[in-house]
Amino acid sequence: MTAHDVPSSATDRADAPVGMLAELTHRCPLHCPYCSNPLELVRRESELTTGQWISVLDQARRLGVLQTHLSGGEPLARRDLAELVGHASRLGCYVSLVTSGLGLTPERAEELAARGLDHVQLSLQDSDASTGDRVAGTRAHHHKVAAAAVVRRLDLPLTVNVVLHRGNLDRIAAIIRLAEALGADRLELANTQYYGWGLRNRGLLMPTRRQLARARRVVAEETRRLAGSTEVVYVLSDYYGEHPKPCMHGWGSRQFTVAPNGRVLPCPTADVISGLPAEFVQDRPLAEIWYESALFTAFRGTGWMRDPCRSCDRREIDFGGCRCQAFQLTGDAAATDPVCRFSPDRRLVDLALRADAPEDSGVAEPTVGPPLWRGLPPGRVPRVPGAAAGPSVVDPCG
């Protein structure tokens, strides 16, 4: 018996999904330059209605979904959030709220808890307000600290999630101390992955090797110190690995994402792969999309693979890596993930590491254009009262 013990067979027959990421809205008061939402954000007018989300939850549960992550954007921007939480909970799903904390007032949190919310995942940008607000592009930090206290008072399990990059890695010890002080049961420290906004801003976000080496030492020490109180999960960017990560445990294998406009995707960033058929919950039953659509069967299992993956004995371990990354770096979604050392395209990743990772003494020039804040037009830089000196073009996060 193992975690996620979904029986996997060598055939490409699909199992029922266990998880759904419901992106209720792309609206968000923050402007994180590494946001995991797609570059093209869904507008409010195109969002599913309450009734449509209820139907999505019903269908998802019938299909086998047990975990629902209600996410965004900022899901608290939806006025029907409590209703959706209550519905998912009544269906028997484990309900997590993935939030920036902005808008999580004591009243709203109490209502969500009363409706059956099981767990809160709260994002933090940095260890203190002046640097955190600068990356968020708005006054956010003190709201997050307050939101964590609210979650604690309601005695809900709290996961704190921090995206790491060149601008905050040197404060990792302080970030861990803050998460501890906030009472996090679990702390996820995830180095930026370079898709979508992160790829667009890669030249600004990529850390130095020395930063990473130091962070690894700090995390190891702190993980030991916190054993038994806060579980620390540290995720390195796969650019530094030898093999890719088992992205989503394989395409269309355990979970799916529903975007605010009802588009169903194998993962939240899969829309970067151009030419994929678009499937919407408004047009077709979810079960049919999961089991039969060309979208979900395209890279399911191992049958789609070419060499080197096809003949590799890791093919059932990492499933050839991330399809979005393969597409974004090579233009071919069926290629071996270029972070793999067996990939003929690995040099693309090595080049990026050389070009975008600044020397340990200096600052790299952005190689992918000027920084782009999520939700702001190119060239616009958020002005945040009280935040550290305005972000410069070269290094917005440091």
Partner: protein
């Protein structure tokens, strides 16, 4: 590795962990903040007894009676693994 489990201790589910019956899979499933555990039959039987009332010794005896060929060490090891994952707590009486 499993030496630390007191036969008198009474395991219960961890913080934020829920055990529920899933009709679509005809089995119990364990739900927790970042995951889902779909236990096999033995695992299911153990988890159903992690209710804070059953001592470890009793769980082991019950499982031995219920399943052929299941060894006490295997059950203790499973309890230890679940504890390591934070999915159950094994408290001692009065502790």
């Amino acid at each position: 590795m499993t030496a630390g489990i007191d036969p008198a201790a009474r395991p219960r589910l961890g913080r934020g962990v829920k055990l529920m019956r899933d009709e679509s899979r005809d089995s119990h499933v364990l739900l927790y903040p970042e995951g889902v555990l779909l236990p096999n039959e033995t695992g299911e039987a153990v988890l159903l007894r992690c209710d804070g009332n059953s001592p470890v010794g009793e769980i082991v005896r019950a499982l031995e009676g219920q399943f052929d060929g299941v060894l006490p060490e295997q059950i203790l090891e499973l309890l230890d693994t679940l504890r390591g994952m934070g999915l159950i707590r094994i408290d001692h009486d009065g502790a």
